[in-house]
Structures are given as structure tokens and as C-alpha cells.
Symmetry: C2
Subunit: 317 residues, 2 copies
């Protein structure tokens, strides 16, 4: 069983407006809402790939009830969210129909008490006992210690469960020091962690800080993986236009599923880039286009980098 | 028992941001939410004035549950909302801390079925049997006939219950033709109803269309009342700066409470202007400043207008 952890789950609300005009009043014709937070998004993609996934983290209030209802209706997901007294946060994405741009309003999340954090850790340890891999995803809600992810990484390692960490800032810095198996920073997160804007140098530095493998997602330049088995770069075929929301979460799902399926690194990266690109192409934010995904699996280019022999093309499918 | 009708109740959410930047991402530190929709706001002010008020209309979904929970916690309010299968709408007010301006995002509301509308009408007729007065407030949710308020006005008149209508557009036009006792349009609503931007002419025209009394709220110029007993203008003392959200609803509460307390027109207008002004002055949108209200009661100026003798000052307190 795969496990994803979303400590700051969200009810993601999308409003479409013809044009967003500050200080004006807008009547919203089209409203959509769905369970959100990075770990939930990852879980949904994993479920779409045919994996059974247990989802944990915190949920509370009326918004939390809506999130749980949505999870319950998704095939392949098991709800192991821990109830809290505060209300699950909302995120509001206002999509401007004229420019296509999105204005994002993200609530901070509920205040988590020490007792709630203790209850979560107990649930987490129970889930680790039967987990094949775990992904720790997203921001921390108010009240949690900044070293929360470091603690969860250590618990996973102690239980012998491969652990992927996808967060940012100080929680990422602390978490990396606890030696996770895999981190998947984007360019900004990687630069913030290491102080370097050079991906080759920064990925090396991140490994030096404790991450066993670093897969950096570099937008249109694809992904750069620095692993104990070598370095690879994976790029999508040509430029892709669309909504990048959720592309990183799809990449995490690709990497995690590849890990438990014992795929080679080139195969894992191909899957991650194909899923990520198919997410950008999908009309609904955070969904992936299944047909585009299957087609992209044959077109992602993976190149081995570094080593004595320099770059060499690797067959992946 | 006073009754207020809010067919399109809302969960009013307020986000404070240092500055609203379109197409950027904003982390919301301060979130507040409360039951909304004009009739609910009117009821809350009436309750604060010491009246017992029954609140009806529609509520549904997780947002509707939060609205009902909020109502249940408010002293003096009786919840007679009719459950619907759709979800009560949200309104999101984004307050820009730099300019103080508000950007408003208003969901349209749930689709009301014919059966739900029939269930509401039954509840409404039962409430009329013991109502001292009724206020019909705000927009119509999707699915209701545009003549919905006209029908509710007629039912109130048939039951001998004084009825105040506070809405806009075509529902106001149809509702006025059903001869309500009182309408309280603002300048824009009055102009849209009558085609005239001259308040004196427009209020006369609105009476000609069927409203027994018209009280026009004219912002900083106070209120103009055209009644079977004469015409009055009521103005606050000097210019008032603040948030006008809910000022109109407070005015409706002033007029409705004045009606059932058998106050004179000058007294009712004094109360309406004082409440409305005290609402603009309150720090929280839609609340009124009780101390300012009491003080304003002695300082609102009411002037009798028109007639053979022209304007004459009227003592009101």
C-alpha cells in the first residue's frame, strides 16, 4: 500500500471570471471545487495509474467534511485523515478568462494542537507498518514544528519504508537533513535550499545535505535526476502550453509509482515527465490527459549525463 | 414575530491581504466568515435591537450547514430555513490593506428545484400566520421564477402582513407591481426601476408602479421617504468614512422595527439613518457600532419636504 501525507489538506475552489478587476464586484457563473493539497493530488494520480493509496494528514470543519466526501468518492483511495478541531483551509483560484492567468488566494490552514499532532504520528506509524512507500507533501499548517517532516522522514527510515519528500523552505531543509530517499524540488525550491541557481551544482549540493536521490523539476527543461546509480536528464518532446497547476504533483506520483514497481531510473523519469506534461495539457487544473500521457511515454527523451563517457542516449520503452 | 426571507443565503468569507495583485499568489493570514445574504443581515440587526426574528429562505450543502450553525449561535434568531439539495453560495470579499478597497467574488447560488420552491412557499405561508411584518431581501438563486417576490408580496398582503421588499432588477419591477407596503431601493436600483436619475421624480414613479411607500437610500445624501402621509428627507450629521457593506440592510432593519413599533415616519427614518451610518462606522463589515448608533439617534436631521408649505424641520427625538 502506498501512503501519501498531506498535513495541510485543502478544499480547492476554482472561480472562472470573464476578467478579474480589482475592487470591482464579480458574479461567478462557474464554480468547481475538489479535495486538494499536494499529497491528495499525488494520491489521485496514483489511483488513476491503478495503485491503491492511503491518504493521511489532517481534516476538520465543514471544509474538511467536503474534502473527505470527495476522497470517499474516488476509486482506489483510502481515507486515513486525522480529525482536527480547526477547519481545513480553502484555496481560491480565480481564473481570468481574458488572459488565462490565475490569481491565487490560499488560506493558511487550521492551528494544529500538540494532541492532534501526536494523534497523527500514531496513525502514521501504524500506516508505515504496511506501507510500500510514503510521500510527504506540501506546506505545514500553523502549530506544527518546523522539523515535522524531519521527524516523519526518520520514522519512515526506521520502519524501512522508502520516503519521498516534496516541500519547500525550512521544512525542506530540516527534512533533507533527516536523509529522505528522494526529494523533488523545482528550480526555486532547489535554489532556496542550496543557494545555487545552477541545477547541476545545486542537485549535487542537495545530495550532500542528505537526500539520497534528487530529482529536480526544471519546467520546460524537463527533469534532472541525480541518483546513486547515475545522473539522467529527461525532457518532454517540444514546448507545452497549458496550466502547470499540479504538474509537480503528477511528477511525484510518477516517481513514487516507478519506485514501488521497481522501474529503472530512465523508466521512472519517463513516466514522471509524461505525467507532468499530460497534466499541463489537461483542460482541468491538476487532472492529467490520459491519452496524451500514453502517447508521451513513447516520446520523452532520457539522456544519461556525466560520468567518464559523457552524455549517452538511453532507450526507455 | 418578525420574519425575514433570504432566498439566496450565503456564507460570507472575508480575506484581508496586504495588497491584491492580479495573477499573483496570496497567502491569507486573516480569514473571517459568517452567515450572509441580505435578509440574514437584516435579521441580525433586528436581533441586536431586541426583536425576535424568524429567518427563512434556502440553505444546503456544507456551506449551508455552516450558515445554520452561525444562525443557531445568534441570540434572538429562529432558523426556519428550508433545506435544498444544492449548496448555499459563498461570497468572497478580498480586502486590500493598502487601498482599503474590496474585491468581491459572488457565487450565483444553488439551483432551486420546483419541489424546493413549493416547500418554501408552504413554510412561508405558515410563518405569515403569526408574523407582524415580513422583509423580502436580496437576489434570487438560479431556478426561481423572476416573479417569485411578486408571489410572496401577494401572499403577505392576502395574510394582512406588512411586507417590505428589498431587491433589484426585474424581480424588483415584478415585485413592486404586486403592491408591497415598502421598498428601499438605493439610487442605482431606483434609476433602473424607473428610468429616472432624479430621486424626487423616481420615488414618485416607483409609487405609481405599486409601492405604497418608497424609502430611497441615497448614500451620503441620506434617505428620501415618500409615504402616503408625506415626504421626508433624513440625513446623517456630516460625511462618514468607512465600509458601506451592510448599511442598506441595517436601514431595512431600522424601517421594519420602526414599523412594528408604530413609530412615526421621522422616528423610523432617524433610526434607519442612524443604524445605517453606525454600520459604515463599524470596523467589521455588516456590524453596527452600538455606541455610535445611540449617539447618532440624537443627531440625524429629518426634514419634511414638498406640500404647500415647502420644507419644514421636524423634531424627531
Amino acid at each position: 500500500m502506498l501512503v501519501t501525507v498531506t498535513l495541510n489538506t485543502a478544499l480547492d475552489i476554482t472561480y472562472r471570471v470573464p476578467r478579474l478587476v480589482p475592487h470591482a464586484s464579480h458574479r461567478i457563473g462557474e464554480v468547481s471545487e475538489r479535495p486538494g493539497g499536494k499529497g491528495l493530488n499525488v494520491a489521485r494520480v496514483l489511483a488513476a495509474l491503478g495503485h491503491r493509496v492511503t491518504v493521511t494528514g489532517f481534516a476538520g470543519g465543514a471544509t474538511g467534511a467536503v474534502v473527505r466526501e470527495g476522497l470517499g468518492a474516488t476509486e482506489g483511495l483510502v481515507d486515513a485523515l486525522v480529525p482536527v478541531s480547526g477547519a481545513t483551509r480553502r484555496t481560491v483560484a480565480v481564473v481570468d478568462g481574458t488572459t488565462g492567468d490565475t490569481t491565487q488566494l490560499n488560506e493558511a490552514g487550521p492551528q494544529i494542537t500538540a494532541a492532534e499532532w501526536a494523534a497523527f504520528q500514531e496513525t502514521y506509524r501504524e500506516l508505515l507498518a504496511s506501507a510500500s512507500a510514503v510521500a510527504l507533501c506540501g506546506s505545514l499548517p500553523p502549530g506544527l514544528p518546523v522539523g515535522a517532516y524531519a521527524l516523519l522522514v526518520r520514522a519512515a527510515r526506521a520502519a524501512g519504508v522508502p520516503v519521498l519528500l516534496d516541500t519547500s523552505g525550512e521544512p525542506l531543509r530540516r527534512g533533507v537533513a533527516a536523509r529522505p530517499d528522494l526529494i523533488k524540488p523545482n528550480a526555486d525550491e532547489l535554489a532556496e535550499l542550496t543557494g545555487s541557481h545552477d541545477p547541476a551544482r545545486a542537485t549535487r549540493d542537495a545530495r550532500g545535505r542528505g537526500a539520497r536521490t534528487v530529482v529536480a523539476s526544471l519546467g520546460t527543461e524537463g527533469m534532472l535526476a541525480v541518483t546513486p546509480e547515475g545522473r539522467w536528464r529527461a525532457v518532454p518532446p517540444g514546448r507545452v502550453d497549458g496550466n502547470p497547476t499540479g504538474a509537480g504533483d503528477s511528477a511525484v506520483a510518477g516517481l513514487l509509482s516507478g519506485l514501488v514497481e521497481n522501474l529503472t531510473w530512465p523508466q521512472r523519469l519517463t513516466r514522471a515527465v509524461a505525467l507532468s506534461t499530460a497534466t499541463v495539457l489537461a483542460p482541468a487544473a491538476g487532472e492529467f490527459d490520459a491519452a496524451a500521457y500514453r502517447e508521451l511515454l513513447t516520446r520523452v527523451e532520457v539522456t544519461r549525463e556525466g560520468g567518464a563517457g559523457g552524455a549517452a542516449r538511453t532507450a526507455t520503452s
